[in-house]
Amino acid sequence: MTIKVLLIGATLVFGFMTLRERRPATNQAVRRIALLLLVPVGLIAVAFPDTTVWAAHLVGVKRGTDLLLYIFVMTFLFTTLASYQRLHHLERQLVQLTRELALRHDHDAVR
């Protein structure tokens, strides 16, 4: 079952992603590539519904809808993780900014 390997592999990648601090630029690039791929794939899937069945059989899934569900879940996971990391990064920056403001303001007052 090709799909099992793909799904388990993807899940492991997600797990690894959570643990690694990624640069937002890389994240953004990956997101954009994914978007560029998803748009034509989505269009084709809508225009020719049978292609999803064909693609599903290719990876050992019976129904096209099942394959779509798998892809949907994986995309959702990726989006959640990416935004979590983005938030985390922003939080850190916010702390630094707040700290710098507090330190400078006090110093100005003393002078």
Binding site: T18, L19, R20, E21, E91, R92, L94, V95, T98, R99, L101, A102, L103, H105, D106, H107, V110
Partner: protein, 232 residues
């Protein structure tokens, strides 16, 4: 106001978040023994900053609430950047600590030339600790002993003394309350010496109501676990 000459090189850092009811008393008590008291107001909305300033503290203000660890780090940065203090004392604003304990701890740091002096409420005489709190804290201690390889008996005591060397090496970046473990975890890898001093914690109705909920231990554990695995 009599200030010991020996505490002139000490800067007390008090993180403050909505402590209008207690901060004046704490600052006043600290100022009787320490010349330099810095309150880091972590975005209070109850005028704690003005009360602290009126009581004689230097007040740094976070424009928005960033958590106690962030507030402490701001205080540490202030000490490093704008003062030449040899020691920083961290002291909670809710009145649970005893100023004399802080003085004794600074003395301990001086006498033994120790980088980090930690307070322990379990070897001291703490007043009326709630049973549930005792269980949660003990579990936290076992976790820290295991992860930070530190022989301590209390891990989440807000009273600490750090010398300038320790301030330069420890950087608190963890959100919420996990910074306490982060601080402890930084001691051994940075080659800092430490000692634990028995102290008293006053569990007044005020400090219990203001303090951490026991459930927050889950958040601390989660933050720590994610951070631990995140070794670049």
């Amino acid at each position: 106001m009599k200030i010991d000459e020996t505490t002139d090189d000490v800067c007390v850092v008090v993180p403050v978040f909505n402590e209008a009811g207690a901060v004046a008393e704490v600052v006043t008590a600290l100022r009787e023994r320490f010349a330099h008291v810095v309150c880091v107001d972590d975005g209070s909305t109850d005028g704690s900053d003005q009360i602290a300033r009126a009581a004689g503290a230097t007040v740094l203000r976070h424009a928005i609430n960033q958590g106690q660890g962030a507030a402490l780090q701001t205080g540490f940065d202030h000490v490093l950047r704008y003062t030449d203090a040899s020691y920083a004392v961290t002291f909670d604003a809710d009145g649970q600590h005893v100023v004399d304990d802080a003085v004794r701890m600074v003395q301990a740091a001086r006498d033994g030339n120790i980088d980090v002096v930690l307070a322990s409420r379990f070897t001291g005489a703490s007043t009326d600790m709630p049973a549930a709190r005792r269980i949660v804290l003990k579990a936290g201690i076992r976790f820290t002993r295991w992860t930070a390889r530190l022989e301590v008996t209390d891990t989440h005591n807000g009273l600490r003394v750090l010398n300038r060397r320790a301030l330069g090496r420890i950087r608190l970046t963890m959100p919420r309350m996990a910074y306490a473990s982060e601080l402890l975890s930084a001691i051994v890898p940075n080659g800092l010496s430490y000692v634990e001093v028995p102290t008293t914690v006053n569990y007044t109705a005020y400090s219990v109501a203001k303090g951490q909920t026991n459930l927050n231990a889950v958040n601390i554990l989660f933050d720590l676990a994610v951070n631990r695995m995140r070794v670049t």
